[in-house]
């Protein structure tokens, strides 16, 4: 099993969710986050007072997938979240040791 941790542009969320549903991903967790990468912040100007905004709003989506789903899931995210412009985000894949569905006590692949 793998844990996919992806940072995406907020407005791509609906496309990403649909694309993941199509490849059989049944659940996800979404968090509003702020950060920076190569896309640096921007400046805002209020009555001449200039503020540099270093951290930009992004969404972090977290999903657990089986090893067989991994490739399609990563493909789905990277296609749906891509605009081709700087700041599209990143996808991180991490080994996942165990998964348990609390209600039924099913484990691992059955729990996803």
């Amino acid at each position: 099993m793998k844990w996919i941790n992806a940072i995406i542009k907020p407005f791509t969320l609906d496309d990403v969710r649909e694309a993941l549903a199509e490849v059989g991903v049944q659940g996800m967790t979404v968090t509003e986050v702020k950060g920076f990468g190569r896309q640096h912040g921007h400046t805002e100007l209020y009555r001449g007072a200039e503020y540099v905004v270093d951290f930009l709003p992004k969404l972090k989506i977290e999903i657990a997938v089986t090893d067989e789903q991994l490739e399609r899931a990563v493909e789905a995210i990277s296609t749906a979240a891509r605009t081709g412009k700087i700041g599209d985000g990143k996808i991180f894949v991490i080994d996942l040791e165990q998964a348990i569905r609390i209600r039924t006590q099913e484990v691992d692949g059955d729990a996803l």
Binding site: E44, L45, Y46, R47, G48, A49, Y51
Partner: protein, 442 residues
Amino acid sequence: MRFKLPRALAASALFLPGLAFAQAAAAPAKLDSGDTAWMLTATMLVLLMTIPGLALFYGGMVRAKNLLSVLMQCFAITALVTVLWVVYGYSVAFDNSGMAAGSTNIHSFIGGFGHAMLAGLKPDSLYLTIPEGVFVMFQMTFAIITPALIVGAIAERMKFSALLVFTALWFTLVYLPVAHMVWGGPGSFLGDLGVLDFAGGTVVHINAGIAGLVGCLVIGKRRGYPNTPMPPHNLGYTLIGASMLWLGWFGFNAGSAVAANGSAGMAMLVTQIATAAAAIGWTAIEWLTHRRPSVLGIASGAVAGLVAITPAAGTCGPGGALVVGLVAGVVCFFCATRLKRKFGYDDSLDVFGVHAIAGIIGALLTGPLAAPVLGGFGTVTDLGGQFWIQCKGVGFTVVYSAVLSYVIFKGIAVTMGLRVDEEQEQVGLDIALHEERGYNLS
């Protein structure tokens, strides 16, 4: 005679003395239902300018942790000034006992207490052609918005208790005398000088703007200013507030005719023109120098235009209104964005940069633009002479407001203290002073 107050006072008397006196001298005044209906409406419009108009305009510009403190200040000032106005304010501003045209005495500067507790006011008391009770209310709404304007200069750091004390003192020692000197009728100091101030550019905006500058200098900068970002937290509120100010200002300016007549109609028209011109002026110059037209900019420009046209609304023509608006929009842009930064004072929401500056621009331009030769509807023929009279009015108000405001602010600072402590300022005034939050989002 039942009229103890000068019937020809108010703005109309100042630019059309002949007409106003002619009315007074004719048959005994009779209630006019059209005038009364309009003045009831105008009064509500001016109240709307403070709550919620100005409250939201300012509330959107502060940080989220101070939203409620600003709304609370505006709302509490509304209540406090109402009570003070009834107890002695109306009398001190408008009682005309001991006054005579051309004679300067103590009552040229301040009214008496003959109308304290609104003594003698009955349902059938008249002021010109409207019930005196309506006139009391109408003028009360002006007395409310003036100290509320000052809130913007000391936002995000002043103690609520100190603000209430300041409001009571400043209302008594600054607002009432200046209102009396301009609008007190024949024998009033600035009125007799011939200063034109139709709806309160001097009394309200210069007065409050100067007090704001003095206040922010005495109380000091917000912690972290100017290095810590303090961006407005909700410019949507600010734009809604500015829109309500724009709307309510028709009550302020057109209502200052104290009648539903041609003067009111023209005041409404020139108010709209100057406001739009100033919004465009500010936005254009901002677009050129900052490369972006901003929401805060267009809202600020509109307010600058409203302020600037206020003294001129009864005398300038549509062309003059365009000039007043454009000049105010452009000059106030530089004052709010450059002047403040250059001198480093923390006039948090630009009460000085917008209200005092636009008020002064408007007051000065009112003189020449009242002349028929420049499209005005006043009786001014000596353009330079009237300009000089306007300068004297502005100069006197600036000095009077600055000195008295300094004494009041300083007095409070050394007795009860003006500022919240560091920790309270850090947490935000909403939690620190009111134990509430503007936003409980989860």
